[in-house]
Amino acid sequence: MQHKASEAPTQSPRLKNAVCPFCSLLCDDLVLTPNADGSFKTAAGACHNASKAYLRAPSAPAPTLNGNPATFDDAFAALAKLIKRSSRPHFGGLATDVNGMRQIIRCAERSNASLDHAHGEIMAATTELLQSRGYYATTLSEVRNRCDLALIFDVDFAARYTNFLKRCTRPKQSLSGPIAKRRETLFIGSNERSPFDGGDKKELSIDVRRGEIDDFALLLLGALRRKTGTGALAKKAQEVVAKIRDAAYVTLVWAPGQVSESPLALGWTLADVVHEINATGRGALLTLGGDDGGQTAQNVSAWTTGYPNRIAFNRGSIDYAPKLNATRRLLEHQAIDALVWVDSFGRGLKIPPGNVPTVVIGRQKPHRPHDIYIPVGVPTIDHDADLVRTDSSVTLRGRALRDSELPSVAKVFSEVMARL
């Protein structure tokens, strides 16, 4: 449909409280105005990533087989044939919603497939942290209402989780009244990443170079244990510990996908710091991550199979081998003979290099032609969808915002299974 500028603008209905699927914060207060091309304009308050993503018009391309247009029926049949022929298919990307993940797992069980999410490497590290020591965690609303000292470890808010500060540390009202007023937020990281301009005395930056964040966290831990270190960094750590001792509820915020050091090592230290704080006071860890349906894939996999991401079905049994089932490794070692890549949010998740028949089930047609391409709708925009938030405690259901002829990922896999 052509939009005619000369026509009197019709009042587009504003869609309120849309659930944004484009990062794991799952902001659910978006106000959208439909554009004539099927995309949406976001009202003030949405982050730049969301604004850009909602502006993407549905292109509704047809499926392709070896680069040639095909019907959905043909594409489903071709995918079923490929999976049937394959002795070791791999389902990667896994950027989808709960129902999509449910069907992917059912299909994987029937076809002896292995599974790995696009952010599998980082999620494997945080899972290892959980499986080897555990930690005391918190959730977004707790931070917003309880936290009077937030320590943010080098999170790049310009890149992702942009609205975190607005939603969690900057609200002027909180359930525990005085807490919001006295709340201090410390950014511990490189100055270029700091979201603070020094204009607010309650928002301070402590300049710590990339690569030294873990050292700083260790110094914090030492200072909490009354071990005094020397040097400028140690002095800064002691100042932070003084604040920790005065705080009622400390939150350590980190994004394992954005740190330059080993997420497992840094996570371990942060978990230790929280443990030390909790010996006499209160503190908790908030992890920002699991974007692109990562947190959803982890949870659905855990409840249906018992194991989180990176499992393989093997003639009726489940092999949980997080190191072995990584997409990149399987491709490098040619341990799989077909790759089905699922990327329904349209962020263009990079497919690791490999030389096996590749299927893309995605929102956007990949630049390079693949053996099979099946377009799908965006969860919470083209169809109703459940997604798990970064703190893993809240699951939100976003309702479809527009009529769409594109199938969901769940629909694709159920059609494929019907043909297996």
Binding site: N17, V19, D28, D29, V98, N99, R102, E109, T127, L130, Q131, S132, R133, G134, Y135, Y136, A137, T138, T139, L140, S141, E142, R144, N145, R146, R167, C168, Q173, S174, L175, S176, A248, Y249, N278, G281, R282, A284, Q298, N299, A302, W303, T304, T305, G306, Y307, P308, F313, G316, S317, I318, Y320, D384, D386, V388, S392, S393, V394, T395, L396, R397
Partner: protein, 555 residues
């Protein structure tokens, strides 16, 4: 005529209708138990039971099968899964078993034990959607959940502001609907919230540092609300001081505080500890049994422990934080959740040679055996907190077989055996009593009139056991299990996958509460009220589940 079934010559145990071991036929048509037809159609499917034991389908009133804390436990414990792998072929879907089973395995194993309904007792409203999604992926059984209140800041603020009882009831009714819950549970009343303010203990009459209210006030307000709303299951109470030596006095005081209000005290074994003896740890089972026996307003479940590895999953962050020191293996997770409640997941191994664990085992059994009325005590291990639910057949044998029980008693820590009166208790549960506490009584307590019964009009949920002197063997492997007339298990093995319904209590509320909540969510929460609520259509989104509404009438 395939949906017309005759179960011929079974020995019937149906406490709802007072039938105790009578040999007769049961007829099933279209999923319901029906009268004996005038003409027996020879084409109807007939199962010749030849005196085999027939009970209704089992109902577990308290089992942690779905929601965030369960999924944390699953994610945390691959080594536990690896010790009990479940391959496709054993069940229609692969999964894993033992302490934190996958949803598939949990559903299949419940059915293979003759159970047809399971109730998740600690669903957080803020996590309700995930809990329902997990339960939707739990096959074979019907389900429902109790939503946790009493630690959420909205409620505590309302209590502090001395809002009237009507207002509290509206809020409780709204929460039931928003979370699609069947009943209300309170966990460490006010204590989970107090722990967020660094309070490390909160006894019944102790004041919450921030809100200035006491657990007693929380309990009385919520139990009255549940009663006045007409919700069938009374307030499900996980009291103060779980696991603390000496908590017996708190439990007795809690029972007194309720003063005749209906209440269900859950996993009482963990709340029945005195401080007598050399170990300053003793059994309070007799005192609690006496109170329960005397007060018909009270029911309870035990939360029996069994020796071996398990994982404890609880909303009680305050107590789990203390328990984390005993984690085995050494790892655990705690979490403050959404100004709603919290959770703590701590793996644990109960040891028979450890005095405290051994006495815990004995205390649970004492409670079972000293409480007279099987209509008011339910068989649970608080899965998986005391033990995985798969230990029920063993537990039933302990209750039904005194000499077996005494043999077991002789193997535990000798000081614990000596400190317990278990050896002197002669009581053995009868099949009729087992049918009461695992079928009839939970159905009645939950208000599910057509469950747990073999009477005409009941849902044809039927379990047939081959009679065996070894009750553990008998209850571990039913010969036949029917769910609403469908044969789902044969000789202890799933033969057909079915998907159950989800029960919820629908109570009316004044819309004024909804407006207050809109403002509350907008001002304080990181999600909108409209997204917090789980909507009816969500139960059909995967074409498996359904929602069964029970309209309740407010007094």
């Amino acid at each position: 005529m395939s949906n017309f079934i005759r179960l011929k010559s079974g020995r019937i145990y149906d406490p709802v209708n007072g039938v105790d071991g009578e040999v007769r036929d049961i007829f099933v048509r279209d999923g319901q138990i029906v009268n004996t037809p005038i003409d027996i159609d020879p084409a109807m499917t007939t199962y010749d039971l030849d005196g085999a034991v027939v009970m209704g389908g089992g109902i577990d009133i308290h089992t942690h099968i779905g929601g965030g804390k369960v999924n944390i436990a699953r994610t945390m414990l691959p080594e536990d899964h690896d010790a009990d792998p479940v391959n496709r072929g054993q069940h229609p879907h692969a999964g894993c078993g033992h302490a934190a089973p996958s949803t598939y395995t949990a559903g299949y194993r419940y059915a293979e034990m003759g159970y047809v309904a399971c109730f998740e007792p600690a669903m957080l409203a803020s996590n309700a959607r995930q809990a329902h999604l997990e339960m939707a992926d739990t096959p074979m059984v019907d389900k429902g959940a109790y939503v946790v209140l009493g630690n959420d800041d909205f409620f505590l603020r309302a209590l502090r502001a001395k809002k009237d009882q009507q207002y509290i009831e509206d809020y409780v009714a709204w929460t039931l609907k928003a979370a699609q819950a069947l009943a209300i549970k309170v966990v460490n009343p006010g204590g989970i919230n107090a722990f967020k303010f660094n309070q490390r203990a909160l006894d019944l009459d102790e004041k919450h540092n921030h809100y200035g209210i006491t657990p007693r006030e929380v309990l009385l307000s919520l139990s009255a609300a549940v009663k006045n709303l007409g919700v069938a299951h009374p307030l499900h109470i996980h009291g103060c001081n779980l696991g603390v030596p000496g908590n017996l006095s708190t439990t007795l005081e809690t029972a007194r505080a309720l003063d005749g209000l209906p209440a269900h005290l859950t996993h009482v074994q963990f709340h029945a500890y005195g401080t007598e003896g050399d170990y300053k740890f003793s059994s309070g089972a007799a005192e609690i049994a006496e109170v329960v026996n005397r007060n018909p307003n009270l029911s309870m479940d035990v939360g029996q422990i069994m020796f071996g590895q398990t994982v404890t999953e609880s909303g009680d962050t305050m107590r789990q934080f203390e328990g984390a020191a005993f984690a085995h293996p050494k790892k655990w997770v705690g979490m403050d959740i959404e100004c709603d409640a919290g959770c703590g997941v701590v793996p644990f191994r109960y040891r028979d040679k450890n005095f405290v664990n051994a006495l815990q085992w004995a205390i649970g059994l004492e409670l079972f055996l000293l409480i007279d009325d099987p209509w008011r005590i339910f068989l649970t291990t608080d899965h998986p907190n005391g033990a995985p639910f798969t230990s029920y057949p063993h537990l039933i044998r302990l209750l039904m077989d005194r000499s077996f029980r005494n043999d077991m008693l002789s193997t535990i820590h000798p000081d614990a055996a000596a400190a317990s009166r278990l050896g002197s208790i002669d009581r053995e549960y009868s099949l009729y009593e087992i049918a009461t506490m695992t079928r009839a009584a939970p159905a009645r307590s939950l208000g599910l009139q057509d469950y747990g019964s073999l009477g005409v009009g009941a849902r044809a949920n039927i379990t047939v056991y081959n009679d065996h002197a070894n009750r553990e063997r008998m209850f571990a492997k039913p010969r036949l299990v029917f769910k609403e007339g469908e044969l789902i298990v044969e000789n202890g093995k799933v033969c057909q996958t079915v998907w159950g319904t989800t029960h919820m209590s629908d109570a009316s509320y004044d819309n004024a509460i909804s407006k207050d909540l809109d403002a509350y969510f907008d001002r304080y929460m990181t999600m909108k009220k409209e997204h917090f609520a789980v909507h009816d259509d969500e139960f059909h989104s995967d074409e498996r589940g359904s929602l069964t509404r029970h309209e309740v009438k407010r007094e």
